[in-house]
């Protein structure tokens, strides 16, 4: 864990990026703390790679600042920045040996020869490739090339290491292994990692903090637990893990609990920063959803139990609401739902999160509702 008192090493200040009329990064602010492993997670086209490339210097932001160790580097060339990149395609130089590939950055910085030899030997030992230093990239496996790419960047001791989906080309088993390996290297060398991926499991496994990006907007930045349990909005709630969303309007707020009027009644959930009258959704994870065969005190939503699937120790069930919405539950296998019978769904308000919702989504959901 990175202490919260750590200084920001990269400060991205109100960055915008346009390709022609295409607004790919919107008003993005992000601090990367010294020594942390921060992952930007998003689907393809979310602007995550463009953001990383702006930090690396391969793209210029249309507006905004990028501070590296307090200095604005937004207009500087990649070779004038103290950051290094691990490319998705590795981009190893095919005409050089592994040693020369790794030594390239040090040679460019005119480091004395004997020191180059020492540094390269050390880093190759760290990534367990000592025996390969005189080979060419074409003679290595995918996993080995990946490790060379990491060594070639790390040997320069950059202020920040940028990684653009570096494990994308590896098979699942190797990818899992490399995730742990990367985390080990990052802790050992204490170098800040800014990592980009579309794989949420990868992000949750490795990161100190995760930033969720969608349509050019950084939706939320936080530790993995907060991202999962305290999603900032409807998008984040659906993007990470599986969840059930009930759209509605906030009808009352008391402390950190809000009452939400939804199509099938009123429900409760934890809430922060939202006001009465706002459009919102309550997000309930399948494993937090409870059921009863009778209406319960407080609130409950009636539906019909439809499908149940055993997945090892867990039972995945689906309940259909009168409006057709499908609600997912995960229960212990010893506690099945009554087949095709009426059930009443409820939850502990502390287990549900009320999230902001773009108005049009809620409006659509409420259009057919009886109470409007």
């Amino acid at each position: 864990m990175v202490p919260m008192s750590a200084e920001p090493i990269v400060q991205i200040r109100n960055i915008n990026k346009f390709y022609g009329d295409n607004h790919v990064v919107r008003d993005l602010d992000l601090d990367v703390l010294e020594g942390e492993f921060l992952t930007i997670l998003g689907s393809s086209g979310s602007g995550k790679t463009t953001t990383l490339r702006m930090v690396g210097g391969f793209e210029q932001p249309t507006s905004g600042e990028i501070l590296l160790g307090g200095e604005n580097v937004a207009d500087r060339e990649p070779y004038e920045r103290d950051v290094n990149t691990v490319f998705q395609s590795y981009a190893l130089f095919p005409h050089m040996t592994i040693f020369d590939n790794v030594a390239y950055g040090l040679k460019m910085r005119k480091v004395p020869k004997d020191e180059i030899v020492r540094c390269v030997t050390d880093i190759l030992a760290l990534v367990q490739l000592t025996a390969f230093e005189s080979r060419r990239p074409s003679q290595l496996s995918g996993g080995q090339m990946q490790r060379v790419a990491i060594a070639r960047a790390l040997v320069n001791h950059p202020k920040v290491l940028l990684l653009d989906e570096p494990l994308g080309a590896l098979d699942l088993k190797l990818r899992k292994q490399m995730q742990l390996e990367l985390k080990r290297l990052q802790r050992k060398l204490n170098i800040t990692f800014l990592y980009v991926t579309h794989d949420q499991e990868e992000a949750l496994t490795m990161s100190d903090r995760i930033g969720i990006m969608h349509d050019g907007v950084l939706e939320q930045v936080g530790v993995p637990k907060d991202i999962y349990e305290e999603p900032a909005n409807r998008f984040v709630a659906t993007f990470i893990g599986e969840t059930n969303l009930f759209d509605g309007v906030i009808s009352a707020v008391g402390g950190d609990i809000a009452r939400l009027t939804i199509e099938s009644g009123t429900v409760l959930g934890r809430c922060s920063g939202l006001k009465v009258g706002e459009m919102a959704a309550v997000s309930v994870r399948p494993e937090r959803m409870r059921f009863s065969t009778m209406p319960v005190d407080g609130f409950s939503i009636e539906g019909i139990a439809r499908e149940q699937v055993y997945v090892g120790s867990v039972l995945k069930s689906m309940v259909e609401l009168p409006n057709g919405q499908e609600v997912r539950l995960e229960r212990l296998a010893s506690d099945p739902l009554p087949a095709d019978g009426p059930v009443f769904l409820y939850w502990d308000p502390m287990d549900a999160r009320v999230v902001q919702s773009p108005d049009q989504v809620v409006y659509k959901a409420l259009q057919n509702a009886t109470f409007l």
Binding site: F58, V83, T85
Partner: protein, 290 residues
């Protein structure tokens, strides 16, 4: 091995049908003329300057005339200069084409291709008209009072080198473009990322990975410029003969076909040696159009 009729029909016959026309074509238009030239180069002349089928090595001995040796040297210098200039101009140009966006790429590409489609003789005469004593360039220079009398741009080695460079430029650019286009953009970014700026990246990452394009471009310019007699005729005016001029003269005004044949054989030998060198450095024969 004995073939049964089924095997013949399913393997041998289709193979023969597809291969025979190509083999026949090559035999008729390449192999037979080449053998003819080779045989001719060992023939002698009778007293009426007719080819006599009488074996001699005299033609090859005649190749060592001091005047001829001087022209070989001159031809090699002209070819080497043209190649060097084509490479120096063609590499940045090919780099530019391969690294620009689509619409501009087509325009740049067409700048090379359209002259390439136009008859080379016409383009070379165009230069003669442009550079001549009463040509456009001299008219402009005199008109602007930059010079008092027309400058002699034509009829020297420089004019021949200019013509060769101009005429053969596409042959340099196209293989270079192919080689540079294949290079992954991330290679250049990785080099920049590791602290190398433009020139370092060019010489340490881009050039080493496009060597085969450089070699093939050089061969495609060097070899034709040894033979392109019409360019040295039109622009060089007899002051900058290349090997091609010697050959052409033996077959026409000199009426000494066996000597022309021997010269041709030497030119073919030079070509083969260069291609062999290219191949031994790992060059890819496809990018030579072979």
């Amino acid at each position: 091995m004995k073939l049964n009729s089924h095997e013949f029909r399913s393997n041998t016959l289709p193979a023969a049908i597809t291969v025979i026309p190509a083999v026949a074509w090559l035999a008729f238009f390449v192999a037979i003329p080449l053998v003819y030239v080779l045989v001719m180069s060992f023939c002698s002349l009778d007293e009426y300057y007719n080819v006599a089928f009488q074996f001699t090595l005299g033609n090859y001995a005649d190749l060592l005339y001091p005047n001829y040796v001087q022209i070989y040297a001159q031809s090699i210098v002209i070819a080497a200069l043209s190649t060097a200039i084509c490479l120096a101009l063609g590499y940045p140009f090919a780099y530019l084409i391969s690294r620009t966006f689509r619409e501009h790429k087509v325009i740049l590409y067409m700048l090379v291709i359209i002259p390439f489609w136009t008859n080379s003789l016409i383009r070379i005469y165009g230069w003669r008209t442009f550079l001549g004593a009463s040509g456009f360039l001299n008219a402009a220079l005199v008109g602007l009072h930059l010079v008092d009398s027309p400058v002699d741009f034509l009829f020297n080695q420089a004019a021949t080198v200019l013509g060769m460079t101009y005429d053969l430029f596409p042959f340099m650019v196209l293989p270079l473009y192919t080689a540079i286009e294949k290079l992954d953009e991330a290679q250049i970014e990785a080099s920049h990322d590791l602290g190398a700026h433009g020139l370092s990246t060019l010489f340490r990452v881009v050039v080493p990975q496009t060597v085969s394009g450089i070699f093939s471009g050089c061969i495609m310019v060097f070899i034709p410029s040894l033979g392109a007699f019409y360019i040295s005729d039109i622009l060089g005016g007899g002051n900058s003969d290349v090997i091609g001029n010697l050959i052409q003269r033996q077959f026409q005004s000199g009426n000494n076909w066996p000597l022309g044949a021997a010269l041709s054989i030497i030119l073919i030998a030079i070509t083969l040696i260069l291609v062999k060198i290219y191949q031994s450095t790992g060059g890819d024969m496809e990018s030579l159009g072979v």
